[in-house]
């Protein structure tokens, strides 16, 4: 079963996203939560993923909307509501959190 990586810190505030990308397998899912959603802003996101390839990218919708970022998201990031967050957890093992 693929792993689910939760990234809770913005790319500039910590190495969380970078470390996650080095340790995540290609079929793993990466869910950006809290300030982690800043990692989904189009420009920086494309720079992150260019070197490590596209994994399955998700961002918590409530956190994106709370930060007024909806129109700035990279297109390949799928928005996820809290119920779908639970489904991601149910469908992946282990759950790896990065901060």
């Amino acid at each position: 079963m693929p792993a689910l990586h939760l990234v809770a810190a913005s790319p500039d505030s910590s190495a969380a996203l970078q470390s996650c990308l080095r340790c995540a397998a290609d079929d793993d899912a990466i869910l950006l939560i809290g300030n982690g959603v800043y990692g989904a802003v189009a420009g920086p996101f494309l720079r992150s993923t260019r070197r490590v390839g596209l994994k399955r990218w998700f961002a918590l919708e409530a956190d994106v909307v709370a930060r007024g970022m909806r129109s700035q998201l990279a297109e390949s990031v799928t928005l996820v509501d809290d119920a779908a967050f639970v489904d991601l957890v149910a469908n992946h093992q282990p759950i790896v959190s990065w901060s």
Partner: protein
Amino acid sequence: MMRNTILSSDRRRDPMNISIAIHGDAAASESPSLALRFARAAVAKGHRIHRVFFYHAGVALANSLVVQPQGERDIAEEWAAFARDHDVELAVCIAAALRRGVLSDDDAARYERGGSNVKPPFRIVGLGQWVDAVVASDRVVTFPA
């Protein structure tokens, strides 16, 4: 215009036992509020929250002496209400709690401190309760500081 696809929720699947670890305090981290949203959604989907384990800075949520300013969310109280409504255990690691000044009646007596300050229904437990939760759960989700 919405450019991003939205993941919609699966049909209901078999209920799971899920444990949650919270490592951050509400004053400095979104960890407790993110975890609460997740817990509410998990219960709404029919899963069971086996235990919520508060460790590192997260033990501060159990501090009954905290006074929230008027008009600000009281995440600790929201957790307490959630725990009561859904019969979920809020377990606070004793070693982390002692270090950060959250003391049960027993600890206050043992260490001759002025008073105890654990907010019900949070409970002080040993670290073994975390291992127990890991063994008993299908999934363990940590919300880091």
